[in-house]
Symmetry: C2
Subunit: 431 residues, 2 copies
Amino acid sequence: MITPRRPAGFNELLPADQMALNAMISIIRLSYEQHGYAPIETPALELSPVLLAKEGGETAKQVYRFSKGDNDLAMRFDLTIPLARYTAEHYHELTFPFRRYQIQEVWRAEKPQAGRYRQFYQCDIDIVGVDDITADADVLITARNTLKALDLKDAVLKISHRGLLTGFLADKKLDKKNTEVLRIIDKLDKQGEKVVATELAKLGLKKNDITELLKLVTIAGPAKDVLKKLPTIKQPAFTKALLELTQLNKLLTAAGLKSSEFVFDLSIARGLDYYTGMVFETVLTKHQNIGSVCSGGRYDNLLEQYHKEHLPGVGASIGLSRLFSAIKDSLSDAPANPAQVMVISFESQQDAYALSVVKTLHQSNLNAFLYPGHDKIGKQLKYADKLGITFVALVGSYEVEKEMITIKNLKSGEQKQMKLSKAVQFIRKNL
Amino acid sequence: MITPRRPAGFNELLPADQMALNAMISIIRLSYEQHGYAPIETPALELSPVLLAKEGGETAKQVYRFSKGDNDLAMRFDLTIPLARYTAEHYHELTFPFRRYQIQEVWRAEKPQAGRYRQFYQCDIDIVGVDDITADADVLITARNTLKALDLKDAVLKISHRGLLTGFLADKKLDKKNTEVLRIIDKLDKQGEKVVATELAKLGLKKNDITELLKLVTIAGPAKDVLKKLPTIKQPAFTKALLELTQLNKLLTAAGLKSSEFVFDLSIARGLDYYTGMVFETVLTKHQNIGSVCSGGRYDNLLEQYHKEHLPGVGASIGLSRLFSAIKDSLSDAPANPAQVMVISFESQQDAYALSVVKTLHQSNLNAFLYPGHDKIGKQLKYADKLGITFVALVGSYEVEKEMITIKNLKSGEQKQMKLSKAVQFIRKNL
């Protein structure tokens, strides 16, 4: 006998929770489709030399990589690099701008911790092949509408633009330190201004520049206010960023986003190198501790490693597994079975009639099944109750003879004998 | 620059095909839920010593297995063993009979060939914890109804029962050769009676027994006829099988299965050891060449390796990826984007208005997006047409001023200017 157990960091759900998670996936899928994104899926396994072409350091260490036969294989660890590989491989079969969504699991051998798993769902959208601010707006609007569809009314998009910092640093002749400065700024929210100032000094920035920089990146608030507070910096990158943010504010407002639903926050840097324009994160004000639940931004060239075409794009990703584990306690008790009616047959002579009852319930678009076997009625009722099924339909010899069923509402206790056609209406009315 | 490519045997779909596959998954999911099965998902990676506790030979060779840190890991290669592990691990949290469905990918390093992939979807249902023929009927009915929901009207369930052969062999004092005989019989359909007879002779069966056995296992046809044709064999296993098949015929008929939709076919042996009662396969009469698209049966003890409880069960599995690749050419041309309306904004001054149009379309439950940027109208129309989007809504300065839009039906060529509220009705009517 072997103890049944899973590898550390690999979560799995009981049916009620799985139903709740599936409901969320379904909402995200429908919302992405409503916003005109088409689905793709990429394989769990890719060729390591292809998938890891650009990755080094931390990420590469976390990848599940192994050999099988002649193949050096790696498991999907995000949905962006597979999108790049997919887009390059199918370049001539795709229509650009390519609007795709992808809801799949990814695997990373991270240190397991609360709410962090080694297998988790990502739900990504991207518009590839266009550099226009309406695409950035589209991604942000879709992200907000999707979170709203998930009933996350406390979601706030925090938006910034890489060009502001780039412009500022160019103005100070610090262009070459762009990446390092970004990485340090990214820590602002966790480590505070003092630590950041010290690190910037270590990097060789002058005291004055550090003060100005910190003043810049701590600007945050309603879009209109932030646009007024921004300094004047005559650098093309800065000017472009300012124009784009101004237009974004107009577009998001036109699309119905309230000023409480998105802010401009210049501390949002996003650690990842590949962002080049708008960047954003999303916090739930009631669950600040879980960090960003939806992040993304604009990148310059998705296909870099794989293809000569220059394809800019913009995207967003919802970290579903973490989001789910954060909010699942606040979800109302979900049933552990999707059935609305369970049919009970008293004796095997009534099984055939009971199955014809199930058939009729199905034809009336109700979810139903026959309890298999003839355990004691009490046990069967308890079973239906435990699964969260509202109605039980009892079938004995009397019911078969009279072509009726006895319906019991397990929530109210009400019990009635009636014709099947009446029962369907009765159930519908009381669901 | 690295050539973007996938490992051999790993398929991926273009958006139109992915949408068609997703539609099938969605139908299967809804059908399983309608029949009262609850969803679970198990991790892609399991601990090898747990997952491969019982597996030897061919299957073990096909498993993607590797080490990461201290863990000896194996990728999911079917949904049955993970179900056993899950059921044993969560035994005290589950309610029995446990009715679960699971739609996930599995991975096997098989030799790639047409319609056979190294990553493919399985769609399983099982009822665990009960040995009652209504459960067998439930699984068969659900399988047939699900294939019917997929519009596979040519699906025929071929049902048999392990007890017939077991009883026959017991009667001939050949009990000990049960497994080998099963394996040989399983080849009947591919290799024919002669080869099977030769192999049975090699196994040591007498000529007379071989003749009788072949006569038995070639009985096939409408359930009623087969029940009449069966020989009388006074062995408990045979008698039980006969009783169960007789009852199955009644139950399936009561549930609305026509005699053309299921047959009893005693050549169905199912190679797998663990089946102990009813077994079945499903052929599409219009696609015989792809083999069984849905198979399963009754097993004696799911938890064997993991738990002291004795849990019999019955299940079925749809091999979706193979099914999809077989029928996808017969599906009508699917669009490559879920949007029903694409909005075109003539100039950036109209972008905000255009996004408010998109918002209204979304609120009217239409799928819509704004084409990002301001490419030439001809290019944008061609784009919408290529994606299979029916309606285009044009927004220029005139439309903004008059608070109207110009709607163009790309299928009929019809074009009209109207108020947005009218447009929604117009689109709905012509979708």
